[in-house]
């Protein structure tokens, strides 16, 4: 996988191509020339499938559904933390994307556009189910919250200690402990690789608020994962 982290070269002696660095994804949906998302998410023939679907080719649209249903379901599940809501949000996201396909002008990737619809569907359901949980207010936290860390080394490849299902369970468990306003920003920025500006626009919050929530989300997740990934003390 190509990594967008600037620090790889510094810390691990590895390196990422500059073009794959974070922060170079499209800044706004209306950018004149869409930049491709990493190939791990979007394949080159996406545009052709969207064109066929626009022309009424249901098989082409179904291929897009096949391609993205897992990611979209995981996204909506992570946001809503409720299987029924996630199923409904996933279904409605695909339905709405098809119904409004004529409005998709190809200024961004179809997948990015689909993620925006899915996030709105998921947040709408989360607000309905837990109206007091999704507050627009920034939670009161101090820098002390950020610096209270355990600092155990994880070793080079902590994820390899677990089977896929077990890993997913660890990752889902850590995400579920985050406040929705943190986890949504993390999912959009780091998992779906949506730009800071787009995330701000989508969630109707400022760019500094996205950055602040992202930092807290990353640190909280790191802390939650640490007991599972920290290098085991040898007897």
């Amino acid at each position: 996988m190509r990594c967008r982290l600037e620090t790889c070269a510094t810390l691990l002696g590895g390196g990422c191509p500059p073009a794959a660095r974070w922060g170079v994804v499209p800044t706004v949906m209306s950018a004149a020339e869409p930049k491709p998302l990493p190939s791990t998410i979007v394949r080159p023939d996406e545009g052709a499938l969207v064109s066929s679907a626009k022309a009424g080719d249901l098989a082409a649209f179904e291929e897009l559904v096949n391609r993205y249903e897992g990611r979209i379901f995981r996204l909506t599940m992570n946001i809503t933390q409720n299987r029924e809501d996630a199923q409904d949000a996933t279904q409605d996201a695909f339905l709405k994307s098809y119904q409004h396909l004529d409005r998709f002008l190809g200024e961004s990737r179809f997948y990015t556009w689909l993620v925006r619809i899915a996030v709105n569907e998921a947040l709408m359901r989360l607000r309905k189910r837990r109206p007091n949980v999704v507050s627009l207010d920034e939670p009161v936290e101090t820098d002390e919250d950020l610096i209270r860390h355990d600092v155990q080394d994880w070793g080079p490849t902590p994820e390899q200690r677990y089977a896929r299902t077990e890993m997913n369970s660890i990752l889902t468990g850590a995400i579920s402990k985050l406040d929705p306003i943190f986890r949504t920003v993390f999912l959009l920025r780091d998992v779906e690789q949506i730009s800071t500006e787009e995330t701000a626009e989508l969630l109707d919050i400022s760019v500094p608020a996205v950055k602040s929530r992202l930092l807290r989300a990353r640190l909280k997740l790191r802390q939650s994962l640490s007991p599972s990934f920290a290098r085991r003390a040898t007897a």
Partner: protein, 80 residues
């Protein structure tokens, strides 16, 4: 630069968004502070692990229902 400042700048550092002067100060701090190196490294790994995680395939019942509903409603729309 102290440990607290490193944490404040952590996201910008990981995203490659730091001003060169701040970047240099931060890297000098990292050279001599093992705790901060570990926090930076494990935060980076946190992000990578989530990026790399493949979604679990949809449960069969969910997948079948999703496709049946979608196709039924999409065919209806196409016929309209």
């Amino acid at each position: 630069m102290n440990c607290r400042s490193v944490i404040r700048e952590l996201s910008s550092y990981l995203d490659g968004d730091l001003d060169v002067t701040v970047l240099a100060e931060l890297e000098i701090h990292l050279e001599r502070c093992e705790d901060c190196r570990i926090i930076v490294d494990t935060t980076r790994k946190t992000i990578e692990i989530y990026c790399k995680a493949e979604p679990v395939p949809l449960p069969d019942d969910v997948r079948v229902r999703l496709h049946e509903t979608l196709m039924r409603r999409l065919i209806r729309k196409s016929d309209a």
